[in-house]
Symmetry: D2
Subunit: 367 residues, 4 copies
Amino acid sequence: MTEIGIGIIGGGYMGKAHAVAHAAVGAVFDTALRPRLEMVAASSPASAARYAKSFGFARAADSWQALVADPRVDAVVIASPPETHLEITRAAVAAGKPVFCEKPLGASIADGEAMVAAVDGAGIVNMIGFNYIRTPASQFARRLIAEGTIGEITWFRGEHVEDFYADPALPATWRATGDANGALGDLAPHMINAALALAGPIRTVMAEIETVHPTRGGDPVGNDDQAQMMCRFENGAMGHMFFSRVATGRKMGYIYEINGTKGAIRFNQEDQNSLWLYEASGPEATRGFRQILTGPAHPDYLPFCQGPGHGTGYQDQIIIEARDFLQAIHEGRSLWPAFRDGLAVSRVAEAARRSQAEGRWQSAQPH
Amino acid sequence: MTEIGIGIIGGGYMGKAHAVAHAAVGAVFDTALRPRLEMVAASSPASAARYAKSFGFARAADSWQALVADPRVDAVVIASPPETHLEITRAAVAAGKPVFCEKPLGASIADGEAMVAAVDGAGIVNMIGFNYIRTPASQFARRLIAEGTIGEITWFRGEHVEDFYADPALPATWRATGDANGALGDLAPHMINAALALAGPIRTVMAEIETVHPTRGGDPVGNDDQAQMMCRFENGAMGHMFFSRVATGRKMGYIYEINGTKGAIRFNQEDQNSLWLYEASGPEATRGFRQILTGPAHPDYLPFCQGPGHGTGYQDQIIIEARDFLQAIHEGRSLWPAFRDGLAVSRVAEAARRSQAEGRWQSAQPH
Amino acid sequence: MTEIGIGIIGGGYMGKAHAVAHAAVGAVFDTALRPRLEMVAASSPASAARYAKSFGFARAADSWQALVADPRVDAVVIASPPETHLEITRAAVAAGKPVFCEKPLGASIADGEAMVAAVDGAGIVNMIGFNYIRTPASQFARRLIAEGTIGEITWFRGEHVEDFYADPALPATWRATGDANGALGDLAPHMINAALALAGPIRTVMAEIETVHPTRGGDPVGNDDQAQMMCRFENGAMGHMFFSRVATGRKMGYIYEINGTKGAIRFNQEDQNSLWLYEASGPEATRGFRQILTGPAHPDYLPFCQGPGHGTGYQDQIIIEARDFLQAIHEGRSLWPAFRDGLAVSRVAEAARRSQAEGRWQSAQPH
Amino acid sequence: MTEIGIGIIGGGYMGKAHAVAHAAVGAVFDTALRPRLEMVAASSPASAARYAKSFGFARAADSWQALVADPRVDAVVIASPPETHLEITRAAVAAGKPVFCEKPLGASIADGEAMVAAVDGAGIVNMIGFNYIRTPASQFARRLIAEGTIGEITWFRGEHVEDFYADPALPATWRATGDANGALGDLAPHMINAALALAGPIRTVMAEIETVHPTRGGDPVGNDDQAQMMCRFENGAMGHMFFSRVATGRKMGYIYEINGTKGAIRFNQEDQNSLWLYEASGPEATRGFRQILTGPAHPDYLPFCQGPGHGTGYQDQIIIEARDFLQAIHEGRSLWPAFRDGLAVSRVAEAARRSQAEGRWQSAQPH
Ligand SMILES: NC(=O)C1=CN([C@@H]2O[C@H](COP(=O)(O)OP(=O)(O)OC[C@H]3O[C@@H](n4cnc5c(N)ncnc54)[C@H](O)[C@@H]3O)[C@@H](O)[C@H]2O)C=CC1
Ligand SMILES: NC(=O)C1=CN([C@@H]2O[C@H](COP(=O)(O)OP(=O)(O)OC[C@H]3O[C@@H](n4cnc5c(N)ncnc54)[C@H](O)[C@@H]3O)[C@@H](O)[C@H]2O)C=CC1
Ligand SMILES: NC(=O)C1=CN([C@@H]2O[C@H](COP(=O)(O)OP(=O)(O)OC[C@H]3O[C@@H](n4cnc5c(N)ncnc54)[C@H](O)[C@@H]3O)[C@@H](O)[C@H]2O)C=CC1
Ligand SMILES: NC(=O)C1=CN([C@@H]2O[C@H](COP(=O)(O)OP(=O)(O)OC[C@H]3O[C@@H](n4cnc5c(N)ncnc54)[C@H](O)[C@@H]3O)[C@@H](O)[C@H]2O)C=CC1
């Protein structure tokens, strides 16, 4: 059991989630490396101090620069806004420290490319924060597909839909500016990553991106409320994805439906402990979608609970993520999903933007 | 109570359904006109005779021509293949008889245009068979939207997916030839009609149409297995539809999800007696999608059963349809959906074909 | 094809349902006997005349006595209140006419015993109206259990719960008087019949019966709002049933859950086209309750629709019932469920009343 | 921020869960007291050492006696078998240390009474481990009922059903001996506690308890596989509960359905992030059960995640429990549910055993 000092940049939504995860992960997974909540940085020293006290960090940093440079910080978790991801990554690389970065991979595709170049050039262990694909259910879906349970994929449909911005009366805050904060920039990466993980690389996309409410409270809105794309996977499968922050009634509609020649899979994060599987075998009269409740028979469930159907939750995904990051550091190699996987996701989103601009199908592969 | 002689052309899937409907509709709805199962025609006199005996028609016709011409046949129901729709319509028009035609409106857009011209030119009462929109649930959805319950529509998603052709080992029968028998020709019309009824006219579409299994049992397949289209409604709403006959596990996935600024609606024909409604009002803590079970409070339910939640079924939709056809004849004017509404549906499908050919968005309006 | 004259007594909820059923059944099932809606009787000649016109009967009867005696009435359907069942049955027996009687079998156990004695003594074809057990889903459940799919039954839970009388402000009408109109008398028979059909005879019961709202609108209520019973089946299985007319939110909660040593079954009439089956076989990781959508592979579905998942409804159950009644007449022997099966159901309810009175387990078998 | 040394007895299913909970709770809830994983005890020093290393405790204890006596252990968590609960409690009381005990409260009602006497006599802060009632959904259900949202309760139905012992081929291990390990002893306490919390004290019960498989692998089984009880609440409501470890297909069927005069609530732990609420208000046509997804608007959700519908899991309940235990210690007074609440639960189970023995209704109140 070797201790490792964790430094987290950001103490908001995800900064806290990673703090809790690193507090719990050792007890849950009996990890080889044991995280120590060493330091937290935020937009001001005062807020960092508050976070440190509240989450139980040993110390607060005056700035992210100080955190990255600190000798007792052995690994860096970036949970600050996308605009900060590249610069922090560069500093972590310079300091030779493993780095975990929240999605999306920087504020632009250029940022993402620079981040991949930086970590891969220097051989720095790196990971990107696509947590939803880590539920026992979605890990199991991936395994079922890989094992051929549903045959060849013929159709993939994905959604990431929420309604936190559905009310047009909500003011135009920072959420309403910057591509990285729009539906395509902020929500899409999780589901695009799921699509790539479950159905393989995407060859081409044809998209539509729109701002449903161009003004909010009198102020202009500078980014998109929803976006859709038809897509074609390299394995030939047809697909479609939809992303929305104005999907009234949907709270966490991270939904996928995958048809194959031998079966089908359905999933909705709003009921994250059920995976629906149809197998086109056995007598017609007893076929149907089966509601499989996750349990010890599924990936990464048992460490959380010995009883099936008892369920894991959002925070547990972040704990699984922390386990993988510690494992990656332990093994000295980046585990999936790494920065390069985050970049692959950004490329799909970027192809969507091109498609919207040109009204045509676009390649989603690197040029 | 006036009797009316009904002549049905076709005694297959839908011919039988209409025969049962006309046998039952008077008792269910206490209609002003009372249908008499006068005559049935089929592809041969022998099969017509079998159908007549089996369904309880007074007589069998030697041919559809004989049926249309028969003086005791007061109204004609076309439940034969799309290729026959135009010619029969013309004969019915010539004979001055009201005509009900199963979807799709003929085998091609040209057929459909000719059919509309024929009936509207002669002032013949006409109707097209979009039965699914007639469930109490979908009629109620339409009313809720019209009344503004979910506000302005921001997103429409529709599917009509089944899996009767999912198994690639199934042989290439007549189902595998002819656009009218493909997923876009055969399945799409119902959902396109729903889209138009629920969200209004469609301005433009961008589509993909594909044959998932190009051969079946060694023989070539001549039409499409699935199709998708992004669409833009005239009211500005973004939309998407998907149609498939190879959607493993789906039996009658006539599904729609409609987001609005004030609420949302979800429906799946596989559970046709539930409508899911979300209203963005009241305390956040008690909001949620409500499973409304159809009952006497919903359109056209009470005549089938006095108890809510007891449920209507497929055949009941055809009975409702028969009631409307009788009512149209009684009033001497075509009721929705008429041939022209069927043509509007066909135009959307045709725009999808153009879009597929050209790789671009296309207008779905008459040129 | 032989015609048979049907006489229906009662034109209310169930009288109409049987009228529609007999209008449609020949077309749906191509029955050997073809019903002719010959005559309807009601509480007055005037209402009978209205029903005759509305449902399409050839004639109205001045009284049920006239109907039973009429030479063109070949078979009698009793859809009038329980108090009338015995007397009408006796007349039908005297006239030597097959008789179908709506549940419950008379207004009391004594009535039921007399009815069974009458029909069985005279060898009259008879049937009792337990329609819910006739859905394709519940017929299939019965078959699965009979074939051993779920192994030995270890637990049966049934409910028949509605909320039509949940509001205490509703007045004390006829519904509030007479055991036959209470929850145990009116709602329980369907589910007790299901229990017997699915899990076999009941040996003993221990019950509680209560009037939740002793007065309504100032007037006293004379019968029960809800009742529950623990029961022990002859095969050793433990069970429980609950019946309520004040189950706020439930519209047609005819629900059963059956656990067996090898599997389990769940059903809710509110989604009557789904049967949920769990089989304890195959890898643990892919086990789950399967949502089986009814279709042509299930009993009595195909005549209503060729497509699976398209669904049957309430009225279709009555059509299936009519088919069986015609078939029974054709074969000259009572088919399940006959009057004696209705009596077996009444005996369970009666044992529940004794149990409530004595506060002890009671035998549900004939003494 | 004051540190507090936590000693946990047991490192199995629940010992680990409490270890994780105390590792995470400070970061999640910013608690006044901050737990330090000080010491763990188990059935042998060797296993205690393994648990200490695996979960991150500072030290392992040679025995629970050593742990309770250790000066750096400020509070004791009992997660060892029921037979040990009483003796450990007495030691903790003697040492003047707050004690948290897993359910059930000792191996017998006598144990439970002695435990309550011990802690209450000495004024020791104490709590019992009913975690399921702590989900945001169930806490919210409790609040809704308390606020009168569903009116007066007319019916309570509860289940705790799993299938871990459904296969009769499973051997007769320790699980098959001792009342405390049977369905009524092991599973029932959670749901009985829920019943008391949601619907109030239980006056009388009438029960059945049975061993479905009297032998397993040739060896005799010494406790019950399932049990049911009808119950009457002090507020007059009728109720029923069922407990089973042989409920094939059910993984975590902690289910309740509560009918009231104004509404109804349904919940199933297998989908722990949904609460179903029906309100008998507004137009009939839009009434229905609402699926409320838990979120920041519900109790104890926000500290786990800022997004609604993202979901909490099993482990999170234990974290909430730890927060309450720390809070109780901080305030110097036992918070609900305390030992006395555990005893109230045991009394209901004990009344069920008496009822089974005597075949009559029994009081569930202290004599
Ligand atoms: N994986 C997931 O489920 C989610 C991921 N995210 C991602 O996490 C990242 C952070 O988002 P949230 O936590 O929602 O944001 P937030 O606004 O809740 O928190 C951002 C934090 O970053 C800190 N910060 C801002 N600028 C900084 C600077 N220059 N130096 C140091 N600290 C700085 C702020 O003080 C704050 O503590 C984003 O990349 C976002 O896309 C966000 C929510 C969910
Ligand atoms: N609304 C709905 O839910 C459905 C609508 N349809 C539509 O109904 C129409 C018929 O389809 P199905 O009933 O499925 O076909 P089917 O193959 O089951 O029956 C076709 C019938 O038409 C008769 N027929 C064929 N050629 C004829 C001719 N020249 N003259 C007289 N009769 C002729 C055949 O004898 C047969 O009885 C099609 O337009 C189809 O798209 C079909 C299924 C469902
Ligand atoms: N199987 C099922 O799902 C249901 C069965 N039922 C059963 O059906 C039977 C009838 O109930 P509903 O149709 O609900 O009652 P209802 O009140 O709607 O209709 C009763 C009919 O009986 C007629 N009637 C009454 N007394 C008569 C008499 N002396 N002579 C001739 N006609 C008379 C009335 O005119 C009326 O048309 C009852 O036994 C009831 O338990 C009722 C509802 C559902
Ligand atoms: N709240 C919940 O959801 C659950 C509660 N429980 C309860 O938790 C308690 C423990 O059950 P599990 O964790 O399932 O058992 P387990 O068998 O998984 O673990 C029991 C632990 O107690 C230790 N132990 C046994 N005898 C001991 C002794 N004399 N001194 C010190 N340690 C000893 C063992 O070494 C083992 O680590 C029981 O009261 C049980 O009813 C169990 C499972 C779920």
